[in-house]
């Protein structure tokens, strides 16, 4: 199978505007119970790059005494933002579970401030999607960096109408 030479004219994704992508990925993170409950927002999408914002809430605390964010929140956020970048980095959205994820903690994240997350797809092969993501609260001051690899299950294992549902075009399904 050719790795990069797949048809790019898949109607589900070709020619989508950044705003259509933003709305589609907003729908995606709002269907996921965990991120819906935490109020995760999609700020901007320019395929294959995605930026999100996690508003502050007290459930994100890891050390209530020192006012630090739980490290696991950062891992969860990197998994979500990298996984969302995967959707817009493929010729057509496929279901892609995380194979592995590596997170480097550069500095603690502080309570009371939103956390920004950005991820991009670095490489797509027939079997895999390679991504990287970054988190910050203050511009230029990275909190954590992540490398996430995702497995392509392919069109065969993706539910029919997956892309149409993502873009809110149920009528096409």
């Amino acid at each position: 199978m050719n790795e990069r030479d797949e048809p790019q004219n898949e109607p589900a994704t070709a020619g989508r505007s950044p705003e259509a992508w933003r709305a589609g990925l907003s729908r995606f993170v709002n269907v996921i119970p965990h991120t819906r409950e935490l109020g995760l927002e999609v700020e901007e999408v320019s395929p294959p790059k995605v930026r999100m914002r996690l508003p502050w809430r007290d459930e994100l605390l890891g050390d209530s005494g020192r006012g630090l964010v739980h490290g696991g929140v950062l891992t969860m956020l990197l998994d979500t933002v990298c996984g969302s970048a995967v959707l817009c980095g493929l010729p057509a959205p496929e279901v892609c579970p995380t194979l592995d994820l590596r997170v480097d903690h550069y500095r603690p994240a502080l309570a009371g401030k939103p956390i920004m997350a950005e991820a991009r797809v670095l490489r797509v092969t027939g079997a895999m999607v390679f991504t990287e993501g970054t988190l910050w609260q203050e511009p230029g001051r990275t909190i954590a960096r992540g490398i996430g690899n995702f497995v392509r299950l392919g069109a065969r294992n993706t539910p029919p109408g997956f892309a149409e549902t993502l873009f809110g075009e149920a009528g096409h399904a």
């Binding site: 996921i32 739980h70 969860m76």
Partner: protein, 156 residues
């Protein structure tokens, strides 16, 4: 000063009592996803548990737990296990974390056991294995590197 992880006396006391529940009370996100710990029937360590809360779901089609929630659970387990098994009461700080997903984590109780592979003067390496129905079929393995804080006062 309110008692908490930065309070060395509190840390030493809760550790001596093996009061992991007191630590979990001060970890709101761990509480949010439903982490608990019980003594390991097969050894002298702990087994950690993750509740299959509806808000821990990451894929509604399968359905399956959010991979990031499983990661946060394992990171919490590894950190608390180190706080309990380290030679001294010291507050660890995560340097890096790596997780391999082996199987779909279904929406049922998840368990984890940790191994402290190395405890140096400043750094520790902890391995975490998580499973659901059968420990022989893990859903994920993870490892953490942590910096151990000073035992007397915060070195942040």
């Amino acid at each position: 000063m309110p008692e908490g992880f930065h309070d060395v006396a509190w840390l030493a006391r809760t550790r001596a009592e093996g009061d992991v529940a007191a630590w979990l009370e001060r970890l709101p996100y761990a509480r949010h996803i439903g982490v608990s710990a019980t003594p390991d029937g097969a050894g002298d360590g702990l087994v950690f548990h993750l509740e299959p809360h509806e808000h821990n779901v990451g894929n509604i089609l399968l359905p399956a737990l959010h991979g990031g929630v499983v990661a946060a659970f394992m990171e919490t387990a590894g950190t608390l296990d180190l706080m309990l098994s380290a030679r001294e009461p010291r507050l660890p700080r995560i340097v890096d974390f790596s997780i391999d997903y082996l199987r779909t984590a279904r929406v049922v109780p998840t368990h984890a056991r940790c191994r402290l592979l190395r405890e140096g003067r400043r750094l520790a390496n902890v391995q975490v294995i998580a499973w659901q129905e059968s420990e022989a079929q893990p859903v994920a393995t993870a490892r953490l590197h942590l910096v151990l804080g000073a035992s007397r006062k915060d070195d942040a």
